[in-house]
Symmetry: C2
DNA sequence: GTTCCGCATGAATCGATAG
DNA sequence: ACTATCGATTCATGCGGAA
């Protein structure tokens, strides 16, 4: 099996036009946030952000397969004591563009930036906005099942009685019956809250997000041999992880420095001898 | 000291007009979500939600003190495979109304029910939107400090055995003063992500949120003797908790059944003999 | 080879100071 | 008045060197 890593240097707004429509299974990216990364990316003003971003999402909509998913990692910062509203405006504008806003996952950053202010606590979460082209899309839920903790087992055992009566009295749907099914299982489906620490000790280069973040969504929304795109590649975390997981990857980066760095880490083409499914299941992903 | 619990039966849009302007320190509420609870509240359609809610927030803006805070617990539901956007539209509209959208806390519901859908995971978080009238508002951060992480534990290990026992016993005498530095260093300010389980131990009525939720925000944004308002009282969790914490409370409920139930649980006026500060510090809040 | 401890380092935010 | 820069504040994490 052949796995490709296509890296492009340039503005994704232009580069994306060269990519075939309906060819990408997952877009996972973390664009420069408004008023952030000024020294490297110039910093887009919150008021200008939607206009800056929409032409890019238009191209992403084009290259994404109908069964594909777009996951956008972003978080508004505080401006003048208030949270900016540009992300809400972006979601509303993207819906008009044709996107479906399917879900919002929460990335809970366990080790968020420290600090103390008189009117605010530390910001320890970011948004992971899920967009789709169609209501039907590929999702491989069983790939991201998590071991059911002991607390969950004991809780379900202890409270199944009260839960059952409460549920049936309240909703009357007989939902309590389903709880008994869970007692025998050792794995559970996850929720839409992800707990991951940021990786703050990268000596060479600091990534915007930990590898576990793209890994989780690549597992969930693609299978081996699919294609993953990151139009704001940065340090290439998404592409490197996709490559490790035997997905084709496309990366676009506007800064020469980042582009060169990722280029030196991934090969354009890699060959795998074994059957992808069997080999993949054997490793830790 | 006298603590009042004022309960009103009626639509908060009307009832709020009877309440003096700039008289409330904290509004904490969980309104009926769009298209939810059809059998009890009639169910507001997502498209109508903003228009339905705005006249009420206008009155809330009036009765809130300039130093006060409005915390809105809400979560958009899935309609036809998509997340509704009415909450984002509400935030944008409330800003035009004069509110500042100061912060968005995340309530992570640790024990949401198991369940499975083909294209969606369990929803285990809700929004806690913080609005204010002014950039300056009352916030008592030290009231909600939490135990520190691991590195603090290693520091505490360096203390002698006697120091540690004194530290843990928390008996405040002359000796405790030496340890007071360690006591404060033992705790950290929280973040904007709250981890609370949904309540299971309820009687006949299902509360919208666990007591810990209003408790946390009442601790954070009010002091003893202040006034807390819940314009969508429901089962009265906010009011009952506020009452336990020696805050005056105002509750408004449109349904007779809920109104009567809460009425039977709280007294209109309660007297406290001791100094509020001293007594409050002695208990667990 | 384990475990332990020191240390740098973050998509942060505010308020004051400077241009 | 309005924007840009800087110092102070603060804490979980993982690496590397030490015990």
């Amino acid at each position: 099996m052949e796995i490709r890593n296509d890296l492009y240097l340039g503005d994704c707004q232009d580069v994306l036009k060269k990519i075939s429509e309906n060819s990408v299974d997952l877009i996972f990216t973390s664009p420069p946030y408004a008023d952030q990364r000024k020294n490297t990316y110039g910093g887009i003003r919150p008021d200008d952000y939607v206009d800056w971003f929409l032409p890019k999402t238009k191209q992403m909509l084009r290259v994404l397969k109908p069964s594909g998913t777009f996951v956008l990692n972003i978080k508004e910062k505080v401006v003048n004591g208030e949270r900016s509203t540009y992300i809400m405006e972006l979601i509303l504008a993207m819906r008009k563009q044709g996107w479906l806003w399917t879900e919002e996952f929460i990335w809970h950053k366990k080790n968020c930036y420290p600090g103390k202010w008189p009117n605010r606590f530390r910001d320890s979460w970011e948004r992971l906005l899920q967009f789709n082209k169609n209501k039907k899309f590929n999702m491989y839920q069983e790939e991201v099942m998590v071991p059911m903790g002991d607390w969950a087992k004991t809780r379900l055992k202890n409270l199944s009685e009260t839960d059952r009566t409460r549920d049936e009295s309240k909703v009357g749907s007989g939902f309590g019956k389903n709880i008994s099914n869970w007692l025998t299982r050792d794995k559970a489906y996850p929720t839409n809250v992800l707990h991951l620490a940021t990786e703050c000790n990268n000596k060479k280069h600091s990534a915007a997000f930990p590898e576990g973040l793209p890994e989780w969504f690549i597992k969930l929304f693609t299978k081996v041999g699919d294609t993953v795109l990151d139009p704001f590649m940065g340090s290439g975390t998404t592409n490197i992880v996709a490559n490790k997981m035997k997905r084709n990857s496309i990366g676009i980066e506007i800064l020469q420095e980042y582009y060169d760095m990722v280029k030196s880490q991934v090969s354009p083409v890699e060959l795998y001898l074994f059957e992808p499914k069997a080999e993949y299941e054997a490793d830790k992903y």
